[in-house]
Symmetry: C2
Subunit: 297 residues, 2 copies
């Protein structure tokens, strides 16, 4: 897997700025603020999943690249807005001061807005290019719609809203699952499904990989909750123990650390089992899931 | 014009909530926050321009309706974010408390994000529906891309960024024009051009109506600057004299009220002249431009 994983990662790193429209010199600060967060590293998990899913389905990576960057723009905007004082009030992200600490709250709001909008501008531009190429237009439209739904009012944003609404009160386990699935899981599932659309996957692959990504997404958020308690700031690139300080519900706060590790194990086993029929071709997905148990960042 | 104008307005009012995806009951507050701003009235200028342009080009209004609502969602999100304490810190909008005064800053940020994302979700859904109908797919993709560009990092958002960057300092007249054209003009021009795409307009109509909307957009913002000085809160539904209090550059602060009225007149004359060749069919546009000289809200 390492080779493919590294190839996807390098592809994203090499092209992450390629799809951001150029701006007038009068808007340099806005562009700098966008650039600052987009190029500040990060695991590139969602775009890697998108590229891997396209590859797995037999599609071409260059077809999927604009969509992979678009989903990373969406993820990055959500982090910029999440970090604002009005939301999670974080000062450190990926080992650097958060966007608003550098550019101010107003500019950070606009940089986030710009990234969200850019994601769709990129995907719309790609639809226009279709008319000169033989690629599948329906697949591209479905990929864009999948991302829009995963990122939107019935996806990621609803999870973020329930998350801040439940601060400083103990929520039900059902509500916590709802928050985790929507806030984190939906965009991860959207990344995988968008990649499958772009690669022209068959129904069986959609079914299996969708199940995989649902288990994986929830497992990822639980590993995040664990990391918040056991992680080190210098490895994570963000502050630890913020869930408790901020009165956030987490899998650890509601169920304890042991139960969180157990649930993580169980979800990783389920995720891996779902795709075992694709043994040779699903290595990247399997390894990503197995690695969740030993996350340090 | 009154009849067509009223018909467009009623169409928007009747359907403005139709395209917002339903949400789980756990996300009721987010939906309420979105609903609050979307249904709080407003002039519906951008969607009316979009419908009028589609109609003018000979298209069907029902084809344009999702796009008209989408552009109003984008306009509404930009107002919610603009009103935040980190940006313009406004407490009154359309005669009601601003979104963040009712729902808190964090939820207001998310409600804005949700509306921006919803605009694209709506337009993407509409592309999927195409496959069952004989409407022009290229036109729809061009309409969506036009809106994305007008709203994006090289359009509206760049104007907002330059606007807050130039607070509390006197900017050049060139910079003020840049702010006005981008912040206000670009989304207005996008509304008109998207409507023309959806209606299948010919090149001449694109050329004339684009010029019209560029003059109109700048005139609209100058009338806004004038209104900020001469308007009454109870008629405008927002506080007057905020430009000065907030250290904002405006056409009035840089050039004086008389020069602002002169420039407004000049732009309205140019706008009207541009479309005089379409006399009978461009009534709505002409009347909207002429009305700018007597705006009270």
């Amino acid at each position: 897997m390492q080779d493919n994983y590294q190839m996807y990662y390098d592809l994203i790193e090499d092209h992450i700025l390629d799809f951001i429209p150029s701006v007038d010199s009068k808007s340099e600060t806005l562009y700098d603020a966008v650039n600052y967060s987009v190029t500040s590293g990060g695991k590139r998990l969602r775009p890697i999943l998108l590229l891997a899913a396209c590859d797995f389905a037999g599609g071409e990576l260059k077809t999927a690249l604009p969509y992979a960057c678009a989903i990373e723009y969406i993820h990055t905007y959500s982090l910029i807005h999440d970090d604002l004082p009005a939301m999670d009030d974080d000062v450190l992200r990926r080992g650097k001061p958060t966007n608003h600490k550098v550019y101010g709250d107003g500019m950070a709001i606009l940089a986030g807005d710009a990234l969200l909008n850019t994601a769709y501008e990129v995907m719309y531009r790609d639809l226009i290019y279709y008319f000169d190429t033989p690629q599948c237009l329906t697949c591209k439209i479905n990929a864009g719609l999948t991302i829009a739904k995963g990122a939107g009012i019935s996806g990621m944003i609803s999870g973020q809203a329930s998350d801040i609404e439940n601060e400083n009160k103990v929520c039900s386990k059902e509500m916590l699952d709802y928050i985790h699935v929507n806030k984190t899981g939906d965009l991860i599932t959207a990344a995988v499904r968008a990649g499958l659309y772009l690669g022209g996957a068959d129904d069986a692959k959609f079914e299996k990989l969708t199940s995989f990504s649902e288990y994986f997404g929830l497992a990822y958020q639980i590993s995040d909750d664990i990391l918040d308690v056991v992680g080190e700031a210098n490895e994570m690139g963000k502050m630890p123990n913020v869930d408790k300080k901020r009165g956030k519900n987490s899998y650890v706060s509601l169920n304890g650390l042991d139960a969180a590790y157990d649930r993580l194990d169980e979800l990783v086993v389920k995720a891996v089992k779902t795709i075992e029929c694709y043994y040779d071709n699903a290595e990247v997905f399997r390894d990503l899931a197995l690695k969740l148990k030993a996350r340090t960042k």
